[in-house]
Structures are given as structure tokens and as C-alpha cells.
Symmetry: C2
DNA sequence: ACTTTGAGCTTACAACTGTACGCCAATTTA
DNA sequence: TAAATTGGCGTACAGTTGTAAGCTCAAAGT
């Protein structure tokens, strides 16, 4: 089985090479097959033994990023159970994620509005997962109608993601301020949804 | 003066060529100087008589887009004075803008998280203008503290922009639904900010 | 032990990129 | 009218890209 093992290893080398070449100045679109192959330590044409396309690589990266997103949510839930305060804990956890995995978050952020419909769809699906889980959680907590919860979850995720995007261009010292602002926005939203909801059920 | 006149004309030809080559599948980054020159009807090297760089062209495009954004806000205000309902009128006006100028909106959306710091900065500035005007308006209307208004305006713009992004990939039939959802989110936010604000002034 | 498989390599090519250089011709200036 | 300026052109070059074709050779299958 050393055969398949070796293959998987260079496959990972390719994926790692791609991730490590992403940066603030370089998006996936401006990544070239040859560059990736070079950094992965293989010949350009060997790339095709693992991926048919750069697009296929990209979708793999998005999948991996989505996986990390789900881990993030799990971690947030754990912290909430211990620490209590739902909103602030969530935002803080998310900001940590962005700080420590900026390349991963940037990938999601960019390809969400990128030039490939397949990429956009993949990212949208990952974020939708995220929203759905959050909505489920909200519904348990506030016992509001499902559609309500979904709409609120979507807005929350939108606001948090936007803050994450700001964070990518901000020095670390500003993170507390960004976090605080976002927490306020989310509290407003939650409060409004709770009290306004009754007057306008649909 | 036919000299400068002619120059300005081909300059506009370049700008138009660039705009017309933007699409869902093609972002500014994947635009080539030669392609743009070809569509503008000039030789590749003639491009340099007008812009030092593709980047310089890009910043010009962003400026132009920002200008349209400000026109949009003016139009929204006019409609509000006639029609009343602030939130729904704003969202509807914005959705029309996105539908009719999708390439312009896409440019802003993409370069906001693009690979050029200069671009990101330029877009951020345009959106900040947008937010500031909205904040000014909110403050007049609700008489809340300035920081409050800015925070709320920022959240509103974030939510509306995000809906615009969704709209780019959605068939026209879904626009009313998207619009309705966003209006609800904005109402929640406004309501929450108004009532929650007193309890937590800062 | 023999054959098949397949990951990885080298070489090669055609397409495209940005841009340096120098010329032309028409407008503008002196 | 003579000189200077300048928008536009054609040519040319070096670099990069994706990928096709065919080889090698060690592991896996028989």
C-alpha cells in the first residue's frame, strides 16, 4: 500500500503548496499550475495525475476550507456552553479563526464573489451550512418560527463575515474594536428580531 | 482643441472596452492590456499614452463606479421624499441598480476583497462615503448619537450589499423575495438599534 | 516470475502576455 | 512658416502559460 500512500502524500503537497501561495496579494485565480507544481516539488505535467484542472484543485481547497469552518462552529459551541454569552463568544471565536487562518478565510471570501460559478456555488453551500446550524441553535434558544431564525442567522453571518473581511486589512490592535462593534450590531439585530417579530409574523 | 478632444475620446473607448469585458466569468484581474486595447480599437502599445498601468485603469473604473453609487443614493433620496417608506424604497432602488448595472456592482464587490491593496482601499472609501451619507440621514431621522448611526448604517449597507451579491447569481424572478427578506432584516436592525440603544449607550 | 499499472519525468510547442524602441503624421506652438 | 509635441502604429523580444507525447521504472497484481 506504499503506492497509494505516496500518491496521497504528493496530493497533499500540491494542496499545501496552493494554500501557501495564497496571500493578500495573490488570489487563487492568479495561481498558475506551474508555480504550484514547482512548490510542490513535482514536474508541471505530473499535476494532472492528481487533478484534471486547476479548477478541481480549487474546489478541493474550498471543501477543505468549509471543513475548517465547521470545526470552528463546533469550537464556538463548546465555548458557549462553558462561558455563557452566546453572541460575544461567537464573534470572538470567529475573529480568532480569521487571525490564525487568514488565507483560508480569504479564499472563501474571494471565491464567494469570484469568476467561477462552480466556486461561488461551493462557497455558498458551505456558508449555508454555517447559517443552518446557527439557525437551528437560535430556534432552540428563542423558540421563534424557523423562517425567522434562518433570516436572522443569515444576517448575523453576513455581518460577522464582513467584519472578518475588515480584519484582514486591519492591524491586530484594532481587532477588539472591530469585535465590539460587531457584537453591538448583532445584539441590535437579535433584540429587533425578538420584539419586532411578533408584530410582523411573516 | 481637437487634439485633447480626440485623446479623451479614445480614453473613454478604453474605459468602455474594459467595462464591457467584465462579466460574471471575467473579473478585472483576468483582463489583459492587449484584449482591452483590441476592443478599444487601438494598438497595444497605444494604451500607455493614456494609462501607465492596468492598475491605473482599474482605479479609474472604481472611481467611476463610486460615482454611480453616489448617483444611486441621490435617486433613492428623491424617491423617499415622494414615496415615504425609507427602508423598502432604499432596498428596491438598490436592487434596480444592481439589476441594471451588474458589471459595475460586480466590480465593486470583487475588488473590495481583491488582490490589490490600492483597489481594496479605493472601494472601501467609496462604500464609506455611502455609509456616511446614510448615517447622516439616520441621525436626522432618529436623533440618535452619531456613533450609533454610523454603526447602524454600516450594518445596513453590509446587509444590502450582500443581498446585491446574491442577486447577481439569482434569476430576476427571485428579486422580490430577496428584497423582502432584506427589508425584514433592516427593520429588525432599526428596531433593535432604537430600543436597545438606550439601555447601552456605548 | 511475468505482466500490468501508473506516478513522475523530460522535451516540445503554440499561444499569449507586457513592454521597449523607433517611426509617422497631424496638430499645436513659436 | 518652421519647429516641437504627441497620439498612434508596427515590429520585436523575452517570459510565462497550459498541455500533448512518450519514456522510465518501481510497485501491485497475476
Amino acid at each position: 500500500m506504499t503506492r497509494a500512500e505516496q500518491k496521497e502524500r504528493t496530493r497533499q503537497a500540491i494542496i499545501n503548496a496552493a494554500f501557501s501561495q495564497l496571500s493578500a496579494e495573490k488570489g487563487f485565480a492568479s495561481l498558475s499550475l506551474r508555480e504550484v507544481a514547482r512548490e510542490a516539488g513535482i514536474a508541471p505535467t505530473s499535476f494532472y495525475r492528481h487533478f484534471a484542472d486547476m479548477d478541481e484543485l480549487g474546489l478541493t481547497l474550498v471543501d477543505e476550507a468549509g471543513l475548517m469552518l465547521r470545526q470552528l462552529m463546533r469550537q464556538a459551541r463548546l465555548r458557549i456552553e462553558k462561558h455563557g454569552s452566546v453572541i460575544s463568544t461567537s464573534v470572538e471565536t470567529f475573529m480568532e479563526f480569521v487571525a490564525e487562518n487568514s488565507n483560508v478565510f480569504r479564499l472563501l471570501l474571494r471565491e464567494r464573489s469570484g469568476t467561477s460559478a462552480a466556486f461561488r456555488g461551493a462557497v455558498a453551500r458551505e456558508i449555508q451550512h454555517f447559517c443552518a446550524e446557527l439557525a437551528h441553535y437560535l430556534r432552540k434558544q428563542t423558540q421563534c418560527p424557523l423562517e425567522h431564525a434562518q433570516l436572522q442567522a443569515e444576517a448575523m453571518v453576513t455581518l460577522v463575515f464582513h467584519t472578518g473581511a475588515d480584519a484582514l486589512d486591519a492591524p491586530r490592535e484594532l481587532y477588539p474594536q472591530l469585535t465590539k462593534r460587531t457584537i453591538t450590531q448583532l445584539r441590535w439585530l437579535a433584540h429587533g428580531a425578538a420584539s419586532y417579530g411578533r408584530k410582523q409574523p411573516d
